[in-house]
Amino acid sequence: MIELIQHLINGFSMGSIYALIALGYTMVFGILQLINFAHGDVYMVGAFTGFYAIHFFKLAEHPSWLSLALTLVVAMIGSGCLGWCIERLAYRPLRKSPRINVLITAVGVSLFLEFAGQLFFGADPKFFPQVLSFEGDWSFNELKINPLQVLIFVVSIFLMLALDWMIYRTRLGRAMRATSFNLEYASLMGIPTDQVISLTFVLGSTLAGAAGVLVGLTYPKIDPLMGVLPGLKAFVAAVLGGIGNVRGAVLGALILGLSEEFLVGYGAPTFRDALAFGLLIMILLFKPTGLLGLKRAEKV
């Protein structure tokens, strides 16, 4: 029983990280029908921005909530700027070209970030300093909960609720939804679609940056290729929940996190990565719109 609860906790904390990354995929897809493959690498840059911020401000010497908040904010700003640049420099010039061109560009941007990262940050793994340390852990008999895992979960849920509120309750969110519904009509109605799209990239990248810092905090080893696999898995999570759907992305990510955890804990640990891609094939075969995805009639 205790083992089961432990697995649940681990799965939820992993799932909420996938969720933070998946949100970026899903928002961009919702608006541009573009799969931004560079998103996993934005997450990596977020982790490294946090890493350099900690060293620059010497935050590791005074571990506290304030240091964590500062690291998070710097990393979120850094990755947000990167997201803006990617959209402005790589995707906007291709707005009118066939989607496959943009898709290939996305893969190119992803490789660019990975290899530029190896050049500038160095290819060897770095230790992510601990900006927040807890005395011991919360334990109930055998059940050990790392407070950081709970923190990841809480921060993720908070950021997701904030995003949800923004999309469904603010004028800006309405503009985003309108743009996602139909770009041309939205711009005819006076919505500055270019700015809305930029903002979507910035928001998605910001969340990825936060995920980067949270992962660095719990698994203190970061390297320039750390974004590849989580990026692809978060993408699977977004498809699983119904890509383009914000709540679906969170649901898909939690399902993926939990099923990975149980597969590794009770069965075949080396099939962890195969599971995600197996799920992707299954969902594309049987329910291509995803769990919460809506089938929209296509107007020709």
């Binding site: 697995h7 050990k144 770009l183 698994y219 804990g265 640990p269 080396t270 992707l280 089938k295 296509e298």
Partner: protein, 399 residues
Amino acid sequence: MKLQNLTRPNYFAKTVLMGAMFSQALSGCNPKNSSLSGINARTSAATGNTIRVGEVSSLSGSEATFGLSTHRGIELAFDEINRNGGILGKKLELVTLDDRSKPEEAATAATKLIADSEVIAVLGEVASSRSIAMAPIAQNSKTPMISPSSTNPRVTEMGNYIFRVCFIDPFQGEVMAKFALEHLKVKKVAILRDVDSDYSTGLADYFTAALKKGGGTIVLDESYTSSDIDFKSQLTAIRAKKPDAILVPGYYTSVGLIARQTRELGIQAPLLGGDGWDSPKLVEIGGKALENSYFSNHYSNEDTAPKIKNFVTQFSQRYTSKPDGMAAMGYDAAMILVDSIRRSKTLSKQDLRDAIAETKGFAAVTGKISLNEQRNAVKPAVVLKIVDGLFRYQTTIQP
């Protein structure tokens, strides 16, 4: 927006699959386009006033400290020889290539060194998977290759031009099993192995065999892949079996994370490992979680034997850090090569191979090295304990 005549789910599925294919195809492929053609056994490396020796090292990537330490060891040895007038009236020249801790790039680097730089011999690699990738290239071009510290038995089985100056995993596994049974008095051991690494799976297998022979049991054998960062699910399963010790025969970056998560789950059993732990990064990543864990290694820099003391002083003076096992092995590999060049009848690769094979009782930093018929070194191993973040000498185990 232009392709909207397709129904959306259908179009979407296609885009997704294509995208996934692209990204896999592109990101999985690093430069490895050098072919083997153009290599033939030339000996021009030895003409002129220098003898050129190649080195393949993981100077960056996940095992960067291994490559850097080994490189420094080799550099120290070569400089020492050159300072004292070189060898046979010639200077030694070292050509080093970085393989970024990837087997396919180690193979490319070996090809480049042999074909383009025309080296007389190749030193490297540390990791067994990468040495196994390099070995066929050295063998096919009949270039002697000496691995400083690849311990998987398969490395030297690749051909008669492939040597190593360290012990092999059947012995290293036995050492840890013996240590667990006799010194730690533990019977129930769990294993967490890296399935991506020939070194890790080999060491885990030999440990299992030796432990069972000595009356111990393996309560659970779990595995991970080297890109994993979360090991809690495997460790939760291990915790349920209540082992007395856990063998983690991986490399230091993963081991650091594993140690942390082991303690986070409240497992107090000591961790055991092999020479893949030997890096300052291990303690940086693992921190306090590694206290009272043990690993086997090639030597201890605390040893007071004059040879070791002298090496430690020289190394620390030059690099302002203490030499780890990898540095000592790099130094020894270089010195054995130099000694063999001296004994070799001519400077042809063939004669050099024969000279290396005849190495007997060479007094190296890590002990007396004799190469046996399988081209492996036979020598004792030490067990180190991690105390206050330092690697403290525990015991020496003889073959």
